[in-house]
Symmetry: C2
């Protein structure tokens, strides 16, 4: 609360002197952020690999992808006894949360990327990067088959194979068009740096085209109608950025065009930002209303043609055509073809993404890990293992359990099946014993009563969201496991194996939600922080600046992004079409 009051007071002060804002934000962003934000890093035992023998052959680890998951893995890996090969079509890591800022030039594309070689160069392990795309995974022979990603003008692209002992699949996802006709041909996506650059050029293109004397009034209106499909954080942030760009920068340069510009945000659901708190959604919707951003909820896109987008309101008989100048499609993620093929190959049929266990190992494969947007954790159900759990607790095989019997296995149960804890919290129960008491008045439980007590626990299982935060934590977690592979082999640290014997080598992956931002334009941001703390407004924008700068991957990118922000405050965004 004190922090919030500080921000509010600072906000008031700065609104009185707008010039002060410009200076202060830079200072806040560069200095404050690093202090204000501290991340829950997994513990790493540094001594772990000190005694590893060099006489053994180094294990080959192949990392596919240089997104959040892959890069986080590479950054956190410390054991020098691995030989790393990174294969990715992009030789850089991109700080994707700033992509909406890149679309309008608030931040330059080059400020949000860092060459992956710069990142691994400082590490103790040997690493090679190959700019290529993996298009086939051969788990039988433990190799991946790749084809080069460079321009064909350099020569024929010959595929090559890379052997692995461990494979880390972190290839992310592609944009999901839901097979809507015309989207791939006519809409812009916003997943890669190149997408953001193309959008930027396209916005300027629309303005320059609309400014020609040969364009009719109607055509001018069409060209300056910008449509965003998808009311998630990316779509909303892009709409806000575009609104700022148009109103703060472009209308100064193209004053005659201001009256023609229209921004429409289409969302199939009832509300935008539906993963956020209701307060944030309401604030965002009201702000967009005030800003003149046309918000159409409950509106499905059924087709996109070269000049018109066809939407169908819920309950409407036939679709409605709206002329547009540019469409940005940001409705969620789909599976990459190579992952789709791989799933078929390993028998994971009819799934959206790769299934892994709680240790991020791909089910049905040996030595293959998958993390980030291309995978999801298949949490083991309590009810699947209920007999085994009962058996482990019932040491004397009496068929009845007392509270005392549980004391030994409670922690293991809660660690192995995190849904139990979520269920307890939701039911406002203090601990596991209380849960069991709901089914049995006395202290003794038989298997039926035990089953009944736990019957609803599995309903609390939820897939993790496909965010950068999850991917980064998974990468760091997996690197940590790799760092301590030998130690934990000898001395397992994980929970008891209920089906088998002994303990699991590692603790299972546990996601720790650190909050989420939704920038809304006009120097206002909404944030949902852990503990249901919601913060909206100008002060949150500074928190956003600070957090994002602190999360950037290198000092170079930090300096560049701060430079870009300062430049925008002073000179505005550039509108050169390059």
């Amino acid at each position: 609360m004190r922090e919030q009051r500080f921000f509010q007071q600072a906000s008031r002060l700065l609104h009185a002197c707008p010039h002060l804002t410009k200076l202060l934000v830079v200072v806040t962003a560069s200095g404050g952020g690093l202090i204000a934000y501290s991340e829950g890093k997994p513990l790493v035992t540094r001594a772990a690999y000190a005694d590893a023998g060099n006489e053994e052959r180094k294990k080959k680890v192949v990392v596919l992808g240089t997104g959040w998951a892959g890069t986080s893995f590479l950054k956190s890996l410390k054991d020098p006894n691995y030989e790393i090969q990174v294969v990715s079509p992009r030789n850089y890591f991109a700080f994707t949360p700033l992509l909406p800022s890149v679309t309008c030039g608030s931040v330059e594309a080059r400020s949000v990327v860092e060459p992956i070689r710069n990142i691994v160069k400082k590490k103790k392990y040997d690493a090679e990067f190959r700019e290529a795309e993996c298009y086939k995974i051969d788990t039988q022979n433990k190799k991946v088959i790749c084809k080069p990603g460079q321009a064909n003008s350099l020569g024929k692209s010959e595929e090559f194979t890379v052997d692995y002992d461990y494979l880390v699949i972190a290839m992310g996802a592609r944009s999901n068009t839901f097979n809507t006709p015309g989207v791939v041909e006519h809409a812009h996506f916003l997943k890669e740096v190149e997408d953001a650059q193309r959008i930027r050029r396209s916005v300027i293109d629309c303005f320059e085209r609309a400014n020609l004397p040969s364009i009719s009034e109607e055509e001018r209106k069409r060209i300056l109608h910008f449509v965003i499909v998808g009311g998630g954080p990316t779509g909303v942030e892009f709409a806000a950025e575009l609104h700022d760009f148009v109103n703060k920068d472009l209308t100064r340069l193209y004053p005659a065009l201001k009256k023609y510009v229209r921004i429409t945000l289409l969302e199939a659901g009832d509300h935008i930002l539906n993963m956020f708190d209701k307060r944030i959604t309401e604030f965002a919707e009201e702000k967009f209303q005030r800003d003149g951003i046309n918000l159409k909820t409950g509106s499905m896109v059924v087709k996109v043609s070269d000049k018109e987008i066809f939407t169908k309101a819920r309950g409407a008989a036939s679709p409605e055509a709206t002329p547009y100048g540019m469409v940005v499609w940001s409705t969620g993620i789909g599976t990459r073809p190579v992952i789709m093929d791989f799933m078929k190959q390993i028998g994971q049929i009819n799934r959206r993404v790769l299934a892994t266990d709680e240790w991020l190992r791909v089910e049905g494969c040996d030595g293959v890990y998958a993390l980030g947007d291309c995978a999801t954790i298949n949490q083991r159900r309590v009810m699947e293992d209920i007999d085994d759990i009962f058996g482990k607790a019932d040491k004397n095989k009496g068929g009845h359990l007392s509270a005392a019997d549980f004391n030994e296995v409670i922690n293991d149960i809660c660690e192995r099946y995190p849904q139990v804890e979520i269920y307890l919290k939701r039911k406002q129960l203090k601990n596991f014993i209380q849960l069991l008491k709901t089914s049995a008045e006395d202290d003794e439980l038989d298997i039926e009563k035990f089953k009944k007590a736990l019957s609803e626990v599995d309903s609390q299982m939820k897939n993790l969201p496909a965010t950068a935060q999850v991917a980064a934590q998974q990468g760091a977690y997996l690197a940590d496991c790799f760092n301590r592979m030998e130690i934990c082999e000898r001395d397992p640290e994980g929970p008891m194996r209920f089906r088998g014997s002994g303990r699991h080598r590692f603790h299972p992956f546990r996601y720790k939600h650190l909050g989420q931002f939704a920038p809304l334009g006009g120097e206002q941001t909404a944030a949902q922080l852990p503990g249901d703390w919601v913060s909206i407004g100008y002060s949150t924008q500074w928190l956003w600046y600070s957090v994002y700068v602190s999360k950037l991957v290198s000092w170079r990118t930090r300096m560049l992004v701060i430079g870009d922000w300062s430049r925008r405050f002073i000179f505005g965004r550039d509108s050169s079409r390059i």
Copy 2:
């Protein structure tokens, strides 16, 4: 000399403490440059247009092109009584001397461009910019016909026409391939911002491709062979930049590839930088030798295929094929097709560029001006007008002239025929009278002696070089003429008309050479300054930094370029392939 000593001492001091260099250069660049460099600006009479009546229709001026000439014209134009229409396929001005730096990321593309609307916005005259390409000039009906330059996805591109009272053609030139087969298909040019961006991506592409395991040794050598064709300032600077990029940045990230990299500079003449002083050429050639840049002079390129470049040494019987990974073509300029068509149309056949008179008016057209690389001044010969000159001087028509007779016309002759002064300087004659004395012992001259005295004067006529400096001075000169159009109509300021009567309205254009730089890499630059002052080395690099920053078009670009340089000093150049 004192200035030179200062630079040398500072250089020594800074080499002792390399860290100091990084700091100081930024300070020098940002502050010093503005003081160190002062440009010879043409005088402008500000009161000139104060009394211009508003009742008249404003004259329509159409400016084609936003390069050095066009932008300089727009920046210097002050009279609010014009209605300006700017037509160009690029909505920005690019500071082209920094393009070689953009190719390797020493400076970002966006740091060297400024939207043309930002430039004209601050002006008093009304200006409209149209992003389109003029493809036909109709001098009969005083209009230009243009087609839009935006992506076709926005709709059909309909041509439009723009009327003019005055037309300013400043469309520049294109790269000249001398019709060498394969150049357009396989080589990179270095004229536009997009070219520089493409080259940057291509260099990284070559390194990533060479780094793949499926590439043979021989192929790796080929891919990392960078060939630059043309030993002019652009080619030399690019070779130097590339050498620095490879040796300072890329070999840190791709250490295994260092031994394969080869840079070859091909020049058809005997020496590189042949427009510079011999000392500079020698220094550059020696430096390139030391740096391991392969210099091949006297070598003509006859063909470029997808993987090989065919060169023919002087006197060799057959061409030699050399495998390459990337070719950059920088051999000079050629004529744009639209200018070619226009020349045919107005009867300027068999010319390389548009011919104008000394007031930049296109010969044979009314109200059409041409400047920059698309035009050249057709200086009137003295011998063409020799009878008229004699006639004007011989007021009493006696057929004989005394020195006294000349006093009245000497200044006019020297202004109208600048070659006279160049000739005097070269022959080390003090003045015109001395020149005449070389033909006549006594003080009296008849027409024959007069002709004899001046017979060699015209040999001194030389076309101006196709540089940014010439274009910028022409733009400023023409704007100055436009600013004082009415005043000079009433009160002509130019030299006497020898063929007609009265005086010319304006002084003819006179180019003032301010010196030229040739950056040679490794923080060393050569400069040839007026008065044959040659300066080479580290100190000159700082002069280069200062001058270039001071010449940048806006404070925004100045800040950005300084920021880019600082970033490079601290973090090196970025190698992300975006």
